[in-house]
Structure formats: C-alpha cells, structure tokens
Amino acid sequence: MELTDIIFYIFALVTIGSAMIVVFSRNLVYSAFSLMFTFLGVAGLYVLLLADFLAVTQLMIYVGGILVLMIFGVMLTHRVVNVEISSGAMRVIPATIVVGVFLGTLLLVLTRTKWMVMEGSPDVIGTTSMIGTALVTDYLLPFEVSGVVLLVAIVAAAFMARKR
C-alpha cells in the first residue's frame, strides 16, 4: 500500500467518524466541534486530490467562518451554563428504511457505472491561477452574481438578527 493510500484511509476515517458524532451525539456542542474535524478531513482529501486552493478555502470559509457562526448559534439559543445541551431524535424507523434504500441505490449506481477518467496522473501544478482565470473569463457572470448573493445575505442576516 502506498503512503497516499494510507493517508486517504486516515482522512476518510476522520471524516466519516466525526460526521457520525455530528449526527448521533446527544450534545449539540460536541456535534459542532466534531463538525470541525469533518471539515478538516475533507480539506485533507482536497489536498490529496491536488486541489490546494480549495483546501485552504475550505479551512477559511468552513472552519473559520461557518463553524464559528454555528457555534455562536448553539450558544445563543441555549442557556449554556449548567444546562444540558441536547436535542432529541425522532422517526428513526422510517428514516432508517429511506436512508438504507437511498444509500443502496447510490452505491449501486456508483459501482456499476464506468466513470470516464483521464489517463495517467494529473499534473502537480497549483490550481490557483487556473481557478482565477476561469472565474474572470468563462464564469464571470456567476462570480458577480455570487458576490451580490453574499451582499444580500449579509444585509438580510443583519436585518433579521437585530433587536426590534
């Protein structure tokens, strides 16, 4: 087994294991903090896939941004000190059936399909300039639109969260 394969299995284990804790932990704060390890695991997988720019972006947006927001959300919607932070579970049996069928279908499709794959291994050049060029040429309109979306989101979030 090559070193990169071992690293893949380590990151996969971290990602899946911490994702399980996110979903099944009774304590919301544990969920939030183990989500951090999921994000880090996914960032590691991006590095393995030679997507260096996205790996760092993942760190910045998910770990440094969204996760901090989530933890603030958890702490602001519960009386934190001395109160058990937990959340109940419901409808386990129907959910199990739906999810089992869903996962089975996904895995069946994934393993049966012959995916089109490039021959040889990809080049180890940084992706930053390629992504940058794509963003200001072919994808200029979506790029601008996503900027507007973010602006609208900031204004909307500030408007809704303020005290009236």
Binding site: M60, V63, V68, F72, V80, V81
Partner: protein
C-alpha cells in the same frame, strides 16, 4: 536546508520529523526571551527594576516560571466538560503552530514553500478561535464563556481588515507565495513595501517579472496606511492591549483561560506568544523585506558561505519579528483598553472601509500602470 538535514540524519521519516519540529524549538527559545522581555519592559516602563533575584539581573526568571507551570497541579473543575477542556489548549496551540509551516525564516529555510502561503496563513490563523471558544465553554464558568465569546467576535471581525491589507501587497506582487513577496523586496530597505515596493525590475523564482514602475513612490502613503491597518488588526487578533478585552482582568478575571492552570495554561500562554511572533513576522515578511538585510547585500553571499547566508536570514527575520513584538509590549503600557463598542466601531466603521478603499485604489493603479 531540508536536504542537508536529510543527509545529516539519513533516515527519511526521522529527518522529516526533525524538519517539522525545528520551528517549535525556535518558538520555545523565543518564548523564554519574550517572557523576560515582557517582565523587564513592563517594569522599566513603570520605573521598577523587575525580577532581580533569579540569576544576574533576573535573567533566569522565565526558566523558573516555566518550571513552576510544569510542576503546578493540573486542576480540572468538577463541573467542566473534561474532553473539550483538555482538547482546547491543544487546538489553540496547533492553530498557532500550523501557521509556522509556511513562514520563511531564510531563503533556504521555509517549512513548506507553498504557492498559497499567504492565503494559508490567513486561513489557519482563524483556527485558534475554535480552541478559545471550546476552552471558554468547557470551563463552565461565566467569565470564561464571556471572554471566549468576546474573543471570537473580535478575532473573526478583525480578520477581514488584516486579510485585505495583506492582499493589497499580494496584488502588487501578483503571487501569494511568501518567498516571492520577499524576493520582490530584494535590494535594500528602499525597496521594501513599507516604502512603496521595488524601484527596479525583479525576476521571481517562477520567471514572472515585477516591473519597477510598480515601486513608484505613489504607493508609499498607500502602503504606509495599509501597514497601519494590518498592525492594528494584528494586535486585535492576538488579543493584545489596547484590544485585550477578552481577557480584561478588571472585568473578566482572566477571560477564556480563567479556569486553566499548570501546563494547560502554559499552552494557552505559549500559543499567545507564538501568535504575537507570527503576526510580527508576517508584518516583517510582507512590509519589511523578511529575511533580506536592510542594505540588500549579505556577508554570506559576499564571502560565498551558504551557512552564513542562512544564519543572516534567520537573524533578520528574528530581529524584525522581535522588534514588532517589542512594539506590542510597548503599546501595552502606553494605551488604555478599549470598550467593546469602540472595538467594533474601530473594525467595522474605520478599518474595513479604509482597507477596501485602499485595495480599490492600489488595484486600480496596478491595472492601469
């Protein structure tokens, strides 16, 4: 340098580990010096002598302090969340240490010469926030939680102006690689970005050329303002005075590490000192030429001794970093602490609009030149 360590040790895995641990050795040595400097400068500013008993002029005081921290009882509060309480100092320190991976100490000595160095630095510096919130929550103490929430709000807010300020220089260099940013400033202190950038053409390692007209003196006032924005945000991100409200002892006892003792407190402390050096070294790299000497030539290159060049590089990085760390200690005894609302006003209504305006102006000039 990396090759040299590999040759010296022979075993690849062992050599890689040694390579990764080298900055830690540097941080430990630096922390010892910085603790003493903090105590001595504080006492001199207050017209005191400071520690005088341990060793001549008290120079062994930091060793005594570290020994005390190591030997203290490690107390975990009864109602604290044990797992998160123990994990928090580790996460805070990892966040600080991970950034050292890309920090260039000399031309041949950088842990990982990433093309995305600057972006990576900005991204991992936000990592410590999670450890701070974790510690504050797990302590099960209202002061800890309040301190952690304040700290998180402060660090997340001040990341925006500091990142924008760094990106202004990245825009002028056209690269996020920290070595490229340093190379662009080679030739002497008049080429540093604090004084407007290179005054003659520079060829980067990738073959790209930075033209001299980018170093026009038009940029001097703009980059001076950029540096001020960066340094103020860096002070806030490291929770130093005048932005130390997360641990303001007159209101919050000790902030997020109120309940910590022994070596876990020591790790928070080390992380804070490591972060101080990190932001100072980034200021040195981006605005003050990094490992370049102020007059552009090094003795090692003149005499053709590579080891001397390396040591000179480390010396200049450390000297510039220490200088800005010293300025932080200086400010601590000069400026009073801000209020929370003043802190947020400063960030959102002064620094962020100013940094955006600067980015716009500098970007415009870079494009039309």
């Amino acid at each position: 340098m990396e090759q040299f360590i590999h040759d010296l040790i022979g075993n690849d895995l062992l050599a890689t580990i040694v390579w990764c641990v080298l900055p830690l050795v540097f941080i430990l040595g630096y922390a010892i010096v910085a603790i003493l400097a903090e105590m001595k400068s504080a006492s001199w500013f207050q017209d005191r002598l400071g520690p005088m008993r341990t060793g001549p002029w008290g120079i062994f005081q930091p060793f005594a302090d570290v020994l005390k921290l190591l030997m203290k009882e490690d107390i975990v509060p009864a109602r604290a969340d044990k797992i998160l309480f123990n994990l928090a100092p580790v996460i805070v320190f990892v966040g600080a240490y991970a950034a050292f991976a890309v920090l260039p100490f000399a031309s041949e000595y950088v842990g990982a010469d990433l093309n995305l160095g600057l972006f990576y630095l900005i991204a991992v510096s936000s990592f410590g926030v999670l450890g701070i919130i974790m510690g504050g929550w797990a302590s099960n103490n209202k002061y800890s939680l309040l301190g952690a929430m304040r700290s998180a709000a402060q660090i997340v807010s001040y990341e925006v102006p500091s990142a924008t300020a760094l990106l202004i220089v990245a825009m002028m260099v056209g690269s996020l690689n920290l070595q490229d940013i340093i190379t662009a400033q080679s030739g002497g202190f008049w080429n540093w970005f604090i004084l407007g950038g290179p005054k003659s053409d520079v060829v980067l390692a990738s073959g790209a050329v930075i033209h001299a007209d980018i170093g026009n003196f038009v940029f001097l006032p703009l980059l001076l303002a950029t540096f001020v924005i960066y340094y103020l945000s860096a002070l806030a991100e490291t929770n130093r005075t005048p932005f130390d409200i997360p641990e303001g002892e007159s209101e919050l006892v000790g902030g997020y590490h109120t309940e910590y003792s022994g070596m876990k407190f020591g790790m928070f402390f080390m992380a804070e000192y490591a972060n101080m050096f990190l932001v100072s070294a980034v200021a040195a790299v981006v605005f003050f030429g990094g490992w370049q000497s102020p007059w552009g030539i090094t003795l090692g290159e003149a005499l053709d001794i590579p080891v001397l060049t390396l040591l000179e590089g480390v010396f200049w990085t450390a000297a510039k970093g220490f200088f800005f760390v010293f300025v932080m200690m200086w400010l601590r005894w000069t400026l009073p602490r801000l209020r929370v609302d003043q802190l947020m006003y400063m960030c959102w209504k002064v620094l962020i609009p100013a940094s955006f305006a600067l980015a716009l102006v500098v970007g415009f000039i870079v494009v039309i030149r």
